[in-house]
Amino acid sequence: MRRSPVPTIAAVLAAGWLVTEAMGATLAAALLAAAIPSVVAAVALRRRPLPRRGRLAAFLVVMALVVAVAEVVIFLLPSGSPTIPVIQLALFVLLAPAVPLVYARTFPPDDQGQR
């Protein structure tokens, strides 16, 4: 039987976050803020018997989650730039319908429920 990756992933991400908080490391926090929701979604998607098209949609979902948190690039902008809230809100407006629509697109029919 294949071993579940969930405990390893959960432990690594939890420990990673604690170390990040202890060190106050901005870059690590930014990476984990991007990684944690994406990994949670990706792990949940493993339950689905997805066809090829579904896998592509799932990949897009994960990328959407990454992009959502990729707004951490904001820290590359000069502090106080009025561009910051504009980028944040643009991503918000773009992703608010996109992520749920991809969820609906990858939703398995009744006869292909969860594994």
Binding site: S4, P37, V40, A44, A68, L89, P97, Y103
Partner: protein, 479 residues
């Protein structure tokens, strides 16, 4: 006139609810008849309190765009909840007839301590959140309509208790869906008015950039790690909030999950426009000297008082809707924990009659009211519990436990104890200005997750994938 009409609606809802709620499934799980729209709107309404209308804009005036990290996860949370916990919850609910979140924990990890500890977390966090709702209504009542705070809080909680005690979630869910719609419409209208009065979003941003540039710092004074902690706490934390998760137990079938994230996310985004629109517009007016405040917290009340007329009335109705929807779900959850989950945890069969649940609903509302207005310090401490407590206590067992069949009972118990204790210790340290870098709820959840994984991997092998404990379901008898 408006308030009389609302009172009449509440009375009609209570009468209808009392006739419809005839068994525990109707009272605690709205007869499992909810579709995507009802459950999605209800989830958003229950999840958002008056804080969004008043505290959020005030936070924008204090922290600027750094406060947006709290709401930036909103586009993800609906889908994330359904993927990570909604789908397993619906499966478990079908197979074990679960009516409450402690039922789910018991179905997965066995009856006894797992059910008792998760019920305790629901009671502690739920009462804390209810007390804060009562306090919030009191403050708003004094500022916006100039009535004593305790009177405003009593009126709103009594109205909520009336239909919740009579009809449970059967009446509560219907009210929440309507309240969610009201909140969304009011939020968009208030935001548009605030931005229009500030000369539009571009002009508002220009004003802030010129007069208060520090408010455009992406991370704010606490720094990047704290800002990103908020993003994660409110993004992942939704997977552990009982008032959100409860909506998955009310769905009529698995297919309803398909469009639920869209309903949740669109309604959530609509309500959150008030945080950004009122925050940005009114802060620009304040910076420009067109709005006078004694403190940034007064931003929303000051703007709404100045606007007066229809906008003020709309805001009052929206705030009342926000408080009532959150309070109704919390009263139902805490009442279920008291009359169903705790007795079941010690092997007793819960009463078949709904009267103990009805009495508990009223008692919970009354207790929260007394706590809010008679024990200032306790409320201060309990106020910081709530979202963080639910995250620290339940996130490991729900998120990891429902997605990993190897998670064991001892791992779950460790997470349910260590997570909230860590959170409480850090909250106490924060009140003494110590260890400020550590976000209490998230740190508690991380340590709880490590405990759950460590004890499960290192513990006894061969734990059943889903413990067949007969959790929930009075129709088939309890345990």
């Amino acid at each position: 006139m408006v308030w009389a009409a609302l009172l009449l609606l509440v009375l009609l809802l209570a009468v209808w609810g009392a006739r419809e709620a005839k068994d525990a499934t109707a009272f605690f799980a709205a007869s499992r008849r909810a579709g995507s729209v009802l459950a999605g709107l209800g989830g958003t309404a229950a999840g958002l309190s008056a804080f969004v209308f008043v505290g959020g804009p005030g936070l924008f005036a204090t922290m600027g765009v750094a406060s947006l990290w709290i709401i930036l996860s909103a586009p993800l949370t609906g889908a994330l909840q359904c993927w990570a916990v909604g789908e397993p919850l619906v499966e478990l609910t079908r197979s074990h007839n679960c009516l409450t979140i402690p039922d789910v924990v018991a179905a997965r990890f066995g009856n006894g301590l797992p059910r008792a500890l998760s019920a305790t977390a629901v009671i502690a966090g739920g009462v804390a959140m209810l007390a804060v709702q009562a306090k919030g209504v009191g403050v708003l009542g004094e500022v916006l309509v100039h009535v004593p705070g305790w009177q405003a809080a009593t009126a709103v909680l009594a109205a909520t208790a009336l239909y919740t005690a009579a009809g449970g979630m059967r009446a509560g869910l219907l009210a929440e869906a309507a309240q969610g719609l009201i909140m969304a419409v009011a939020a968009v209208a208030i935001s548009a008015a605030a931005l229009w009065q500030a000369g539009g979003p571009t002009a508002a941003l220009r004003t802030i950039a010129h007069l208060r540039p520090e408010l455009l710092d992406a991370w704010g004074k606490p720094g990047a790690v704290s800002a990103l902690s908020l993003f994660l706490l409110f993004g992942l934390g939704t997977c552990a909030q009982p008032h959100y998760l409860q909506k998955f137990l009310l769905l009529r079938d698995r297919k309803c999950l398909r469009w639920m994230p869209l309903v949740m996310t669109v309604s959530l985004a609509a309500v959150l426009t008030v945080w950004v629109g009122l925050g940005l517009g009114a802060t620009a007016m304040w910076a420009d000297g067109n709005l006078h405040l004694s403190s940034p917290d007064q931003l929303a009340p000051a703007f709404l008082s100045a606007a007066g007329g229809t906008l003020l009335a709309l805001a009052l109705i929206a705030v009342a809707a926000a408080v009532m929807s959150t309070a109704a779900t919390l009263m139902n959850l805490v009442a279920a924990a008291v009359v169903r989950d705790l007795p079941s945890a010690v092997g007793r069969v819960p009463a078949r009659s709904l009267w103990p649940a009805r009495a508990a609903t009223v008692a919970v509302g009354l207790f929260a009211l007394l706590l809010a207005f008679h024990t200032e310090r306790t409320v201060g401490l309990l106020g910081v519990l709530g979202w963080g407590t639910f995250t620290a206590a339940l996130l490991p067992s729900i998120l990891v436990g429902l997605n990993w069949s190897g998670a064991t009972r001892s791992g779950c118990l460790a997470a349910l104890v260590i997570g909230p204790l860590t959170q409480l210790a850090l909250e106490l340290a924060h009140s003494g200005h110590l260890m400020l870098r550590w976000e209490p709820g998230l740190t508690g959840a991380a340590i709880g997750t490590l405990a759950l994984v460590g004890l499960s991997v290192g513990g006894k092998k061969g734990c059943p994938e889903i413990a067949p404990t007969g959790a929930g379901g009075e129709d088939e008898g309890l345990d």
